[in-house]
Symmetry: C2
Subunit: 211 residues, 2 copies
DNA sequence: CTAATATTTTTCCAAATGGTCAAAAATTAT
DNA sequence: ATAATTTTTGACCATTTGGAAAAATATTAG
């Protein structure tokens, strides 16, 4: 079994080990940020030795880089799915639903992203200025069109998108605070159901036209 | 000039130096989180030597602790001001305005708080479960009352508060992303004005009763 | 001015950290 | 089984880090 220099793993075992390491790295990075995380923590979390980690990833940076890259695809997908030809209210509701599901099912990825942005987005600033901006420009145009057609109440499409990002990701990034404030077990258990209902109402009632 | 052991500075000079250090610490902590920040960075930022910092603050922890403590007072104030006897829509609008102003004027504090929460709120979990929860419970009751009286459209008051937190703090915590997406200088310059307008519309239209 | 006190800096240290290397262990190929 | 190859680890290293100690400097009181 040769190992072709770097990158792309060949054997199934290599693929698996890399995944185990990435999983551990995600756990640690999402909690402590890049600088605040140590290889020892990641090794402990992965259940293997530190040099073994460096056998699969050349450096701490490289692990982080791969995590961020994998994240970004998943992160942009929900907005990409928003369809100009669909019903405006239904499309926006569906977008909110998708984003909220991501906050529920991938909270660590959300926090990893949050951490990256807090630090000034050093690794993804180009992507934000490029791919992300292009995508948002496109969808903002779609939304603006819906508004022009009188199918949505007029508001700033960019800031509307920001509001959706903010409200949905909040349930991943500020989970500790949310659970602390809700206090009671029942409310905590239902927090995502309640959130969905509330966000639908918030956005739909404010965007619905006429009455 | 005696220095009474620890804590509370006596002379004006001590008070000033402590402030300079705190200011530098805020700058660094808010960007890198607690673990990701170093005393050297803070010293550099403050323009004094590392041991001199430790002359005024016994440890890195202590600096962070004081920052967090000072932050929390400021952080709770806007919600405390919400007045049960005022007009519901006006009160909520004013709350949004205050929170948005904090995001604009104190973005580093917002990020410091964000960082703390991301890491699981190790230093303020008691405060979240105590003081914060009590305050939110009280204000949620006020909002629920307004809704019961038919002065606001019914929705979950806790999640309504979460939405306000999320949307306003987003403008501090995700500023890099927002500026990247907005791209154009004019839109960036007006982002807080636009945000205010948009958030008023979002929340007011969705909470206004009747039509 | 002089002594006492407060402040600052230079020097240093032990622990933690990212990473290397060679040897050991496990796996695979023949 | 044996040789070749891959995987894993223990020992090590240079740098960074939080912090201590003490000497040097500045400030204040008398």
């Amino acid at each position: 079994m040769k190992k072709t220099d770097n990158k792309t793993p060949i054997t199934r075992i290599q693929k698996q080990k890399r995944l185990v390491i990435l999983e551990a790295a995600l756990e640690v990075f999402s909690k402590n940020g890049f600088r605040g995380s140590t290889l020892d923590q990641i090794a402990l979390q992965a259940g293997i030795s530190k040099p073994n980690i460096l056998y699969y990833y050349a450096s701490k940076q490289e692990m982080h880089k791969e995590l961020i890259e994998r994240l970004m695809d998943k992160w942009l997908a929900p907005l990409e799915e928003m369809n100009a030809k669909g019903d405006p209210i239904a499309e926006i509701s569906a977008y909110i639903k998708r984003k909220l599901e991501m906050a529920r099912d991938y909270p660590r990825q959300s926090r990893l992203f949050n951490n990256e942005i807090l630090q000034g987005a050093p690794h993804i600033i180009d992507l934000l200025n490029g791919e992300l901006k292009v995508l948002v420009d496109e969808k903002a145009k779609v939304i603006a069109n819906w508004m022009k057609q009188g199918r949505l109440t007029k508001t700033d499409p960019y800031h509307l998108i920001f509001s959706i990002w903010a409200t949905t990701q909040h349930y991943a990034d500020f989970d500790v605070q949310i659970c602390a404030v809700l206090g009671n077990d029942e409310a905590i258990k239902n927090r995502f159901r309640k959130a969905e209902k509330h966000l639908y109402q918030l956005f739909v009632r404010s965007l619905e036209v006429g009455q």
